[in-house]
C-alpha cells in the first residue's frame, strides 16, 4: 500500500517538525532532515533547499546528499535553472524531461550527466517575498503527479515555517534576520567541513557526516559544533572523538 505508507510518512514528518519547533532547534539540522524526508516521500534521487542572500544569490543550505556533483547542480543555478526560475517568479517549476528541450542548456546537460533527467523547484514564500526554493532531482524522466506537486509544495511551506521559527537567528523575529542567520549557519558548517576534512584526511561529505553524528551524539546544535571546530574552542579530546567518529548515523530516510 504505497499511498498509505506515504501518508504515514508525511504525517510523521509534520509531527516531527511540530515537535522540533517548540524546542531550541538547529535550523540546518532541521532542513537537512526535511531534505532527507523529501527523498522518501517523493521518490526523488536528491533534494535540496536553497535560500537567497541579501544580493539574491541562491545558496544551498541543506541537501539530502552532500555528494560534490549534487551540490554543484544546486550551486550552478545562480546562472540558470529551475530554482532560479521558481525564485524569480514565485511559481513552482516542474520539468519532467531535460533530455527534450531543456530551457537551461548548461544546467540541463550537467543534470543529465549526473543521471538526473527530471527536476522540479518549489518556492518558499511568505506573502509576497520568496525566500528560496525546495529542489527535487529525479532519477527517471517523467511528469510529476499532481499529488506529488501538492506534497512537495507542502514540504516547501514546512521548510519556510521552520525558518520563521528559528529563534536563535535574531532578536526580533524579523524575516531578513532569520534568513541571514540560516545562511551564516550554513557558512560555518562549510568552514567546519573544510577544517575536519583537512585534519582527518577525508572528503567533504564524510566530514559533514562526522560533524552531524558528533552533534547528535552529544546532543549539541550542529551550528554550535561547527563554530567550535572552526574557532578551535572544541577541546582536543572532543575533537579526536569527532574526527574519529564512526557513529553509524542512520540516514534520515529510514
Amino acid at each position: 500500500m504505497p499511498m498509505a505508507s506515504r501518508e504515514e510518512l508525511l504525517a510523521d514528518t509534520f509531527l516531527q517538525l511540530a515537535d522540533t519547533l517548540v524546542e531550541d532547534f538547529d535550523i540546518i539540522e532541521l532542513l537537512t532532515m526535511l531534505s532527507g524526508r523529501c527523498v522518501g516521500l517523493l521518490d526523488a534521487a536528491a533534494t535540496g533547499i536553497l535560500l537567497a542572500d541579501v544580493h539574491c544569490s541562491l545558496h544551498i543550505v541543506a541537501a539530502s546528499s552532500e555528494a560534490v556533483n549534487v551540490l554543484e547542480l544546486f550551486q550552478i543555478q545562480n546562472s540558470e535553472g529551475p530554482c532560479l526560475d521558481a525564485f524569480r517568479t514565485g511559481q513552482a517549476v516542474v520539468h519532467g524531461n531535460l533530455g527534450e528541450a531543456s530551457p537551461w542548456p548548461v544546467f540541463g546537460r550537467k543534470a543529465i550527466e549526473a543521471g538526473l533527467p527530471s527536476v522540479h523547484a518549489f518556492p518558499m514564500r511568505v506573502r509576497d517575498t520568496v525566500l528560496g526554493t525546495l529542489n527535487l532531482f529525479m532519477a527517471e524522466a517523467g511528469p510529476l503527479a499532481s499529488a506529488d506537486v501538492t506534497v512537495a509544495q507542502a514540504l516547501a511551506h514546512a521548510a519556510t515555517i521552520a525558518l520563521l521559527q528559528d529563534r536563535a537567528a535574531t532578536d526580533a523575529n524579523r524575516l531578513s534576520g532569520q534568513l541571514q542567520g540560516a545562511l551564516n549557519s550554513r557558512v560555518s558548517i562549510e568552514q567546519a567541513k573544510g577544517a575536519i576534512a583537512e585534519r582527518a584526511g577525508i572528503g567533504m561529505d564524510e566530514a559533514f557526516r562526522r560533524l552531524r553524528a558528533y552533534a547528535r551524539d552529544t546532543n549539541a546544535k550542529l551550528t554550535d559544533v561547527a563554530e567550535a571546530v572552526v574557532s578551535r574552542t572544541l577541546p582536543a579530546s572532543q575533537m579526536d572523538i569527532l574526527l574519529g567518529a564512526d557513529h553509524g548515523l542512520k540516514p534520515d530516510t529510514a
Binding site: 544569490s57 562549510e190 572552526v230
Partner: protein
C-alpha cells in the same frame, strides 16, 4: 522578486558614492549613519579574537563605542558574541541588570536606542556595526533590512582589506560577493588548519593568492578542495 536585489544595488550605490574607492571603516561609519538615519554609527573590528580598533561617525558614537570597550558590555558586545543582531528600543527602560555600566551613561550622552549587527561570515567573526539613535523606538522593517545589507557589505570590504587589496577592496569585496560558494568556505576551513590561522585570515590568504595568480577566488578554492594546492607546502 527584485526588492532584495534593488535594496542591495541601492545600498552599494549609496555607499560607493559616499566612500569612494577607499572604504576605510571610519568613512563607512559615516555612510552607515546617513543611510540608517542614526545620530551615529560605530564599527568594531576584532583583532585576533579581542576587540581591536573602533571607528565612529560622530562624537556620540565614538563615546559609546569607547564605553563598551571599557565596561565590556552593551549591544555590540552581545551582537558580536552571539553572531546575531541585538537591539534595544529604549535604553532608558531596560532592566537594571542588563548592560550594567552602559545604559545610564549612554542615555546621558544622548542615545535612546541602539541596534547592533554582527560583521561575520560563518564562524569568522570580524566585529559589529552599531547604529545609535537619539530617539527611542524600533528600527522599521526597511531600515532593519538596509542595516543587514550594510553589515554584509562592510564585512566583505573588511575581508578584502585584510587580504591587502585595500585600493580596490570595496569593488573586489562586492564584485565577487556571489562567488562565495560552499567551495570557498570549505577551502577557508582547510587553509585555516594548514596555516593554523583563523578562518577569516585563511580567506584573505586565498583571495590574495587568487589576485596574485590573476584567477577567480573560486578557482583557487577548488584547487585547495581538490588537494592540488596547499598553503603550508608540507
Amino acid at each position: 522578486m527584485t526588492t532584495a536585489h534593488e535594496r542591495w544595488l541601492r545600498i552599494v550605490t549609496a555607499l560607493g558614492a559616499r566612500v569612494g574607492p577607499e572604504p576605510t571603516p571610519a568613512v563607512m561609519c559615516s555612510a552607515a549613519a546617513d543611510l540608517l538615519g542614526a545620530a551615529g554609527a560605530g564599527i568594531l573590528v576584532m583583532a585576533e579574537g579581542v576587540p581591536g580598533a573602533v571607528f565612529a561617525s560622530s562624537s556620540l558614537a565614538a563615546a559609546l563605542e569607547e564605553l563598551q570597550f571599557t565596561v565590556g558590555t552593551g549591544p555590540r558586545v552581545d551582537a558580536h558574541a552571539a553572531g546575531v543582531p541585538i537591539g534595544e528600543e529604549d535604553l532608558e527602560a531596560v532592566a537594571a541588570d542588563r548592560w550594567v555600566g552602559f545604559c545610564g551613561p549612554a542615555v546621558e550622552a544622548g542615545a535612546r536606542s541602539a541596534f547592533s549587527f554582527p560583521l561575520r561570515l560563518g564562524a569568522a567573526r570580524l566585529g559589529a556595526l552599531t547604529a545609535y539613535r537619539a530617539e527611542p523606538g524600533p528600527l522599521d522593517e526597511e531600515t532593519y533590512a538596509d542595516a543587514l545589507v550594510l553589515a554584509e557589505v562592510v564585512t566583505r570590504a573588511l575581508l578584502a582589506g585584510q587580504a591587502g587589496l585595500a585600493g580596490a577592496s570595496l569593488a573586489i569585496g562586492l564584485g565577487d560577493a556571489g562567488a562565495f560558494d560552499a567551495c570557498v568556505h570549505q577551502a577557508s576551513g582547510m587553509v585555516s588548519v594548514q596555516l593554523e590561522v583563523g578562518v577569516g585570515e585563511a580567506l584573505s590568504r586565498l583571495r590574495a593568492r587568487a589576485f596574485a595568480d590573476g584567477v577567480a577566488l573560486a578557482v583557487i578554492a577548488a584547487e585547495v578542495v581538490a588537494l592540488r594546492l596547499r598553503f603550508d607546502y608540507r
